[in-house]
Amino acid sequence: MALLQIAEPGQSPQPHQRRLAVGIDLGTTNSLVAALRSGLSEPIADAAGQVILPSAVRYHADRVEVGEAARLAASADPLNTVLSVKRLMGRGLADVKQLGEQLPYRFVEGESHMPFIETVQGPKSPVEVSADILKVLRQRAEAALGGELVGAVITVPAYFDDAQRQATKDAARLAGLNVLRLLNEPTAAAVAYGLDQHAEGVVAIYDLGGGTFDISILRLTGGVFEVLATGGDSALGGDDFDHAIAGWMVEQAGLSADLDPGEQRSLLQAACAAKEALTTCDVARLSHGAWQGQLSRQRFEALIEPMLARSLKACRRAVRDAGIELEEVEAVVMVGGSTRVPRVRQAVAELFARQPLTDIDPDQVVAIGAAIQADTLAGNKRGEGEELLLLDVIPLSLGLETMGGLMEKVIPRNTTIPVARAQDFTTYKDGQTAMMIHVLQGERELISDCRSLARFELRGIPPMVAGAAKIRVTFQVDADGLLSVAARELASGVEASIQVKPSYGLTDGEIARMLQDSFRNAGEDKVARVLREQQVDAQRLLEAVEAALQADGERLLDADERLAIEAQIQQLRELMTGSDGLAIEQQTKRLTQVTDAFAARRLDATVKAALAGRSLNEIEE
């Protein structure tokens, strides 16, 4: 029979309706999958009891090998074994060449400039390689949970741009996984510790992995994590600790600096073992060939001090970038295997003046948090106070251009995603049949100060008088921050839409600058907006009056009346080019007043024309 899990009170699922969802940490070096079972979020082990799946894929002519075996084959079969594919995700071939790393692969350029790796199975894109890793994790999870997954939450670094996020999503789709959400890795770590249950506060995530270091400063408000700043060093990690120990061994043993690769590997292995031993012991014994030695914890700490200092410097910078003080950080979460080193914990504790959170295995904490989120998103948590958690926000407002070059915000910044907002717009001129939709991002009032994301045209609006058409523009941002905009004329049903990537290419620094500009220029912007609005009103009135004069001026106005109107038109024209909003407003009113009688006469004439020569009966019908 099916195996059961313990549910929250009153939430036992219906038979066959358990919604299985997992969290996946798709890492540069290692990946893992976790799930919530009987209220506990835990990683899922493979048949051999291994939780960690090395992110290594080796292509054979007839099969694909993923994990430890592939990793070990990397030096024997470098062309067909792909390591650290995460670094290539969402990058163009030009970017990859600029990464400045000596990658052993033969790259070929595919469509859309994506780099493909030439293997015995033909060219493989980074997306396909990642999908092969995800497939293994998916099979493992389905075997362990006893059913098909409804979806997965996959974590990505906070600094991943839209292209990288989209590539990750594509990889998941290719692996047959439904992505419930892409979740920032630091956010996942914070969720694992239940920090999202607090009301608010600033959290720092210190993530020291094998080869990279990331620091993220998050602000929690009402269950939503906002990334205030990220920083780090893409070439700093536990591997560097090993190299430092190996270097020390070379010195102590009096070896020559240029060792053959085999010797180098055995040195590094010995160094890594010593590093791990020093987590619990004060002294580690080392041997290499005939040489034997002892490494004290004190000596080891001195060796890694320069690297530690670099990471702390990055922390201080991130805190500064976030615009906060060190004391404001209320919790520090440790992520990554290298944070097991006692000296690292101590240094981080000293910097933030508080004990970092280390209870959850630092290699698993991200996947564990992702699994908790996945369970919630899959709809398994319906208790009170445990509403669907929304964990990401839009960094800058999204909107569109309206007449006069103004930015009309449709979705304000810091709105949690996913979100959909609709706003109705109308035509500006009589008989207008097309409308340009210009999608913008930014906080300023004038479009010239905002960032243009996309333009598209809605055609086929039936001709109507200005203001009669109703065009509903819907902005939708999905959980991964991808924006789509649709416009629909409600009477005729014509529609047009576009998909855009809002934050594409915007760094955190640029976002911060755009925000600060908007605060600094708030006053000016408001004046500019009011002026533009008055100019637009005036322009509209002018066009309407002139069209009316053209049509009925001769027939319905005497010479004096006509002169009076023309004088007011002339005056409004002159004022409009200036920047005195109040004067424009008053003159617009004046023109409206002098044309009131004319407008009334035109209306009468139209009604008369419509009724002329018809019997009462006809009209009543």
Partner: protein, 107 residues
Amino acid sequence: MAISMTEAAAQHVQRSLEGRGKGEGIRLGVRTTGCSGLAYVLEFVDAADSEDQVFETHGVKVIIDPKSLVYLDGTELDFVKEGLNEGFKFNNPNVRGECGCGESFNI
């Protein structure tokens, strides 16, 4: 009338309760639902109801309402691993038939 639990099940319940940070024990029960008529309920308990019966095995409280007890009398709750899959299993002597997957049953 009695309900019992294997040691493996008790240990796992204990661990789950600790991980959850609250709860008196677990509730076993049946609901009339599912393709074969009845389905098992397995939930954490924060507060037992006055009519509930409480059994204690291996230091873990098993809480059950009187209506469900009729269907579950003599049941042993087990925790098993089948390949990578692991979870709880009701060894219920009263069951006469199950649906294919065993998620629901009849008596």
